[in-house]
Symmetry: C2
Subunit: 322 residues, 2 copies
């Protein structure tokens, strides 16, 4: 049985809703904040917009010395793909992603075993060179060129997280880092963040023993970061959240409710089964369906291309109104 | 709140402890069983031993249309690395692994971004060739050669699973497939399998709503497959299980208890923090510590080399006694 210790910490809640009290601050948070602030200032002063993309799921440990954890379905495809379209649109991108989730450009080859993409006949013993099999990695020359150009221009800043706790603190650090560029900052919160967690003080230290019988888990609700982000940390930024449901009948109502609660600019609403071909961009006054036709799907058009077009246009309008 | 429906299925438990009743059979299970049986017969009739390695963690869904799941810490490093040493020792290997967990040989480059390992200056517009940067992929020529030789010889059969349910059924199928080669079969059960699950009939269909408040999860214990595997499915095989704990003080007692309960040949016991440099191989009559010295760690000797040496020798002795 999963025994609960009910001794809550006595310290009073901080401004951030108890974030640093309930979730340990990662040791590198301050270094990462500085890196992100420099990145934002550098690009912001060059007149460039900066988008913070969050991507991938979060890991919620069930034990302090973690063997088991709760996770969220997310390969990070939407975030990684969107990053490419934002870069194509002239944005600089901070890519806050789950360790080992899909990465911009590289994601196109995620299903390929590296060693199956290298040519055996090309291992010339003398020259000692190894060639890429371009049939195994379609468009690799073009993709590589684009990847290297983005890297050389310093337009993509990757930041990794693993646990929910790391995610929350790094998101806060990012919001603070981007506050200096005001409305030029966009938050594109595509990560699948856990709604539930077990506080450190209620967690058993060691691996839960199966010999003790069935498992009872009681999880608290994760504080909603959107609220302090919009109100306190980056009040001038253009903020987009995502809403994924499995039940289409409740989707739009949930999206509207999120907008009312957090008072941010847009919700990208989508249903698990159809998420690659259909989303609704919901704002206070509008509701736009973005749909891929069967033809477009066959031509490998990606819905993220449409989402990013829609939102960069809305961001332009937002900036002009500030 | 996570509501529990208490209507258990009425069908009586099958011989497999209710496996096919509580866990849906994957549609490809029978095809995979045939593939594995052919593989085992082919190599077995050539006098070769066959090891089934399980590797990686299992995913336990919390919802039928799964957004959230429980997972186990496991990169699949131990299984993937062990596969290479078994191949070096002349075994044919069935590699039953979690989708996207580490893979033999390829695992050596898991931390490298593919696009960072290709040389830009080598994209010759005319020739259109792309070269591998061998500094980014140490020993790639040697590793590639070995990978291709193993593949060409048909010595490695990869089989993937994702959920706990898939794992359980594919393990059963593997055990049946290997029964034809008797004591030449080894089971090396290195996967980190969940001890807990939520039966399909107790699972909510849709994504659990966070607006309903904190989450209460109640999980059943997963049936121990080791028992029917040893007793019914592959009674002549050489079977090794793994025991990972975070608390060293209970490790050996748990390993001994597993041996007594399941009556198999060996338990590889290890502690989370030290698992890469220290394990104990526990059998009914013996207890052998395998330890890497600091020097060996620096020389990148892997503990799996020692584990596999130890167990292949024990397997030889086992076969000679049958």
């Amino acid at each position: 049985m999963f025994a609960m210790a009910h001794s809550e910490p006595s310290a009073s809640k901080a401004v951030d809703g108890g974030l640093s009290e309930e979730f340990a601050v990662p040791t590198h948070a301050e270094d990462v904040r500085k890196l992100m602030a420099e990145f934002a200032e550098h690009h912001g002063s060059a007149g460039r917009r900066v988008v913070l993309i969050t991507s991938g799921g979060t890991k919620v440990p069930l034990e302090s010395r973690t063997v088991r954890f709760l996770d969220n379905f997310s390969s990070g495809r939407r975030g990684a793909s969107s990053a490419e379209y934002f870069l194509d649109s002239g944005y600089a991108v901070i890519f806050l992603h789950r360790h080992r989730s899909l990465y911009p450009y590289t994601r196109l080859y995620a299903g390929v075993n590296l060693l199956d993409s290298l040519q055996s006949e090309s291992v010339k013993e003398d020259a000692g060179q190894i060639l890429v099999d371009q049939n195994a990695l379609p468009n690799i020359a073009k993709v590589l060129k684009r990847y290297q150009a983005v890297k050389a221009a310093g337009l993509l800043l990757p930041v990794e997280f693993n646990t929910l706790s790391e995610y929350l603190h790094l998101l806060k650090a990012a919001a603070q880092a981007l506050s200096s560029i005001g409305s030029k900052a966009m938050f594109y919160l595509a990560a699948a963040v856990s709604d539930f967690y077990i506080p450190a003080y209620e967690m058993p230290e060691h691996k839960i023993q199966s010999s003790n019988g069935p498992l009872q888990i009681s999880m608290k609700m994760v504080p909603k970061m959107l609220s302090p982000l919009v109100k306190d940390w980056a009040p001038k930024a253009f903020v987009i959240s995502f809403k994924l449901e499995t039940d289409p009948s409740i989707l739009l109502e949930r999206a509207r409710r999120a907008l009312e609660t957090y008072n941010h600019q847009a919700v990208v609403a989508n249903v698990l089964d159809t998420r690659r071909g259909y989303v609704v961009v919901v704002t206070k006054d509008t509701q736009q369906e973005l749909v891929l036709t069967d033809e477009e799907v066959q031509e490998e058009v990606e819905i993220e291309d449409r989402i990013v077009s829609n939102l960069t246009a809305a961001h332009s309008q937002f900036m002009s109104q500030v």
